[in-house]
Subunit: 140 residues, 2 copies
């Protein structure tokens, strides 16, 4: 399909050679908004690539992150989640169901320009922790 070409193009755009695992990992991360961790990605791709190793998933995630094609999200200790959506947005982590939702940002920057114009900004992370709509309903 032409979706494959899009993934390959994106990899090339970030100067990453398009191997099978890299394509599959990026394809998965671009197709979902669930922000999976390495283990979830491994389990998912194992169905398509039976020889896949956990190490390869970790290696690939590290590479994609370093090249800027995906983003690491660190919210809870001992678990890195990954986000393949590159548009600037914030996150909402529900402490009940553990889901991680995307949130829109209404302003370009919440920070004082005077603080920022002296430093080199490489990355920005904004997230809220709380209880989501669904879980609030469940608990009356």
């Amino acid at each position: 399909m032409q979706n494959l070409q899009k993934i390959k193009d994106k990899l090339q755009q970030y100067k990453i050679k398009p191997s099978l695992i890299r394509i599959k990992v990026l394809e998965y991360l671009n197709s979902t908004r669930e922000h999976p961790n390495a283990e979830k990605i491994y389990k998912k791709l194992l169905k398509e690539i039976p020889t896949l190793s956990r190490t390869s998933v970790y290696n690939t995630l590290k590479l994609l992150t370093q090249k800027g094609a995906i983003k690491e999200i660190m919210i809870e200790e001992g678990e890195i989640r990954y986000d393949g959506i590159n548009e600037r947005h914030a996150h909402f982590k529900c402490v009940k169901c553990n889901n991680l939702y995307d949130l829109k940002l209404k302003c370009k920057s919440c920070l004082e320009e005077t603080d920022l114009n002296k430093v080199k900004v490489m990355d920005e992370h904004i997230y809220i922790v709380g209880i989501c709509k669904k879980c609030l309903k469940k608990g009356e």
Copy 2:
């Protein structure tokens, strides 16, 4: 000194019984803006409390966090830093010197109210990753 009383009051305010270790940990976190991790806090307090155990520091930090007296900051994998300053603010993490600086926020919320008025917000984290002024100068 009367600083001690302030710390005790703050602990009581968050419904935490003021034991020696709790007082010392909170006192340290309220006196610094360096956002230390558990190990740094342990090393620092060991000078004053020679019988101190790492476990006690971890226990105390967990308790203070759960009660809301301090905040965990998770930016780099495998290292939780702690912040005793309760006023809402953002952070800047320098990837060169590894320092974590405080930043002022210019707006009350960067998020769409429509997204937030259906959920329960418990915590908010905003941070920038980049290279600080000092390190930029060093590298010409």
